[in-house]
């Protein structure tokens, strides 16, 4: 069947190659911190993303799309290279950056005559972390900005600076859904109809308070560096979260009610809706300019947000689907309109997708699995997708199951050997049957140690094989690479501390 489909497709879609219409323009959009199941285009009950739905009508919705990491720098490094983050740099988030020798998507397109421009919403995707490589124009906000800030700059570049005779690549980024979950005007309380508590309002609107919630208990002190008092550790340390967990037995916190949690999630949805609106206006402006003719549009997110579906509210402490399952919508040359695709894909597939569309040679090391071929059966869908977490965890998922290995730093000597020898019941693994437990609430290794063990073993074997196939990088961020103001903003949001190497 696959061969037949491939033959048909090969003949039918030849007109979509760059030779027929010239190289398409490429618009790559990263909506930071957007979990797929909170977008209405993926079925959420709040109408959060009508404009993503409009884009999807012109393209393909990838129903089973995943990020390969749970933090922005790891994920965007993968998005820009088609490689896992720890192939590119030493596996420690505090020193992670895209190394100069990495071959990136914009560099690839530059080599093929594209004009390249990146409009970054700030945070970890800054040039100081190596993400400006290959961009003719690179604009990064300070802080965690919205499409409100980045989209007009992209539009101005398209209007005033690009050469109309040459194809263009624009990377557009936003943090609209990133905490604090604080929108504007009538959008701020767009969803929900019950009076919110002061506590839920505070957590939703504070840049960092959501990091002080464990198991629906909020632990607050006047000093936002609360974690330092108790544990002596820093907010980016896994020990911080472990300490929070253990402190819950001795420190009185403020419990969040079910209504509080829903209210905070409604705030997140409202921010997502506002970002979707800003994106919709940007796409509308492009359409009116005629810039969408012969343009490949890829919309993805770098990770989701757990929103207290499990222990924590953030994205960095988990590899549940709430954190790694992301929207992915692709429209333009090579993609039919109004379709869905249900096979497994991930953001490492983006580089080869763009390369095929642009007629470019894939950078060394990038995965060669373009989505144009995947959707038509010319290339196989993934049997497994793999994840790297910034706090000592990795994961593997099939369409039905997930295995997570956590608590062992990825730079531990003989990590793979240790993984291979580890017993599934040693407390470092979690195993979920997503076909029956899509919210990943029941760890089968705890609930019933013998259940589905053969599947867990096969996933562990796949995990071992995957880690063994990844050359580990020793590259670390130079200490003077990041501007002080960028570092300051990241500290404000709990991403860094003053003793960073």
């Amino acid at each position: 069947m696959r061969t037949i489909l491939a033959l048909i497709f090969g003949a039918a879609c030849a007109q979509e190659t760059p030779d027929a219409q010239g190289p398409p323009n490429i618009l790559l959009i990263s909506m930071d911190t957007v979990r797929a199941d909170h977008t209405s285009v993926y079925g959420h009950h709040n109408n959060t993303t009508p404009n993503l739905a409009h884009i999807a009508k012109d393209g393909v919705i990838f129903q089973q799309a995943f990020s390969v990491a749970n933090e922005s720098a790891y994920s965007h490094a993968a998005l820009f290279t088609g490689r896992y983050a720890t192939e590119l740099a030493y596996p420690n988030y505090r020193t992670f950056a895209l190394p100069p020798e990495a071959s990136t998507l914009p560099e690839m397109l530059q080599a093929y005559g594209y004009q390249t421009a990146g409009f970054i919403a700030g945070g970890h995707v800054d040039g100081g972390f190596g993400f400006d490589q290959g961009f003719d124009t690179f604009s990064a906000e300070i802080g965690y900005a919205s499409f409100f800030s980045t989209a007009p700059k992209a539009l101005a570049w398209l209007n005033e600076e690009k050469d109309p005779e040459e194809p263009w690549f624009v990377f557009l980024h936003s943090y609209d859904a990133h905490r604090p979950y604080k929108s504007i005007g009538p959008f701020h309380h767009l969803y929900g109809n019950t009076q919110p508590s002061l506590l839920s309002e505070h957590i939703a609107n504070s840049p960092k308070s959501s990091e002080q919630v464990y198991d629906r208990i909020y632990y607050e002190e006047e000093d936002p560096r609360f974690f330092e008092h108790v544990s002596g550790s820093k907010i980016m340390s896994l020990d911080t979260y472990r300490t929070l967990q253990s402190s819950s037995e001795s420190i009185e916190g403020q419990p969040l009610s079910d209504e509080d949690v829903v209210h905070i999630q409604d705030h997140y949805d409202a921010c997502l809706t506002y970002g979707d609106l800003m994106l919709g206006l940007f796409i509308a402006d492009l359409r009116e300019r005629g810039d969408l003719d012969n343009t490949l549009i890829i919309v993805v997110s770098d990770h989701g947000e757990d929103l207290l579906d499990h222990e924590y509210m953030n994205h960095r402490t988990a590899l549940y689907d709430s954190v790694v399952k992301v929207p992915m919508i692709v429209s333009g040359p090579g993609f039919p309109k109004g379709e869905t695709y249900d096979g497994l894909v991930d953001i490492n597939d983006v580089v080869s997708t763009v390369a095929l569309a642009a007629g470019a040679k894939l950078p060394a090391g990038s995965r060669d699995r373009p989505l144009q071929k995947v959707i038509t059966g010319q290339a196989p869908a993934a049997e497994h997708v793999f994840f790297e977490g910034v706090l000592d965890m990795i994961g593997v998922r099939t369409k039905t199951h997930k295995l997570i290995y956590r608590g062992i730093p990825l730079d531990t000597p003989d990590y793979i050997d240790g993984l291979e020898k580890a017993e599934l019941n040693n407390g470092h693994f979690q195993f979920f049957d997503i076909s029956t437990d899509p919210k990943e609430q029941t760890d089968l290794l705890l609930a019933s140690p013998e259940t589905d063990l053969p599947i867990a073993k096969s996933l562990k074997a796949a995990m071992v094989q995957w880690r063994g196939s990844i050359p580990q990088s020793s590259y670390r961020l130079p200490s003077d690479a990041v501007k002080p103001e960028v570092m300051e903003q990241m500290q404000e949001h709990g991403y860094w501390d003053s003793e960073t190497e």
Binding site: M1, L5, I8, F9, A12, C13, Q15, E16, N47, I55, K57, D58, V60, Q64, Y144, S146, P180, K182, I184, G185, P186, H188, H189, L190, Q195, P196, S197, L198, L199, E201, H202, N205, S206, E220, E221, Q254, Y274, L277, G280, I283, A284, R287, L292, D293, N294, T295, I297, S331, G332, P333, F335, P336, K337, E339, T340, D342, G343, I375, T376, G377
Partner: protein
């Protein structure tokens, strides 16, 4: 429609075969239509305006109705909404009540405060 185990549907291939592939993305709504959809979220009576009773807010610390109703006619029209969206940078210009309480030195929000003092209807 049949679907291959890897997720490929025959329909996708047929779409390509029939030339229905997306060479362009021209079906996105216009700017005014996008804004119109946004207005519709709030315009419960579908009269083209957002009236005070349609404006979602729990307390006036938020950017309120009057911030958008710039001509003071007690209703927000599409132009006022667009002007607000174009001119209002998100995450700036206001703080939540909880943050203000903290800044005033009221200390951490206690469970009693949370339970006994819902956000006020009119203050500040």
């Amino acid at each position: 429609m049949s679907t291959h185990p890897n997720g490929t549907s025959v329909r996708i291939v047929l779409a390509c075969l029939l030339g229905l592939g997306g060479c362009s993305t021209n079906n996105h709504p216009s700017r005014s239509d996008v804004l119109g959809e946004a207005m519709e979220r709030f315009d419960a009576d579908h009269n083209g305006y957002i009236e005070p009773n349609e404006y979602p807010a729990y307390h006036p610390v938020e950017q309120g109705f009057t911030d958008l109703d710039t001509n003071g006619d007690k209703r927000i029209d599409a132009e006022e909404m667009e002007a607000f969206l174009v001119n209002t940078k998100p995450r700036e210009g206001w703080r939540s009540r909880g943050e203000r309480d903290r800044e005033r030195g009221d200390g951490p929000i206690s469970t009693e405060e949370r339970d006994d003092n819902p956000l006020p209807d009119a203050e500040e």
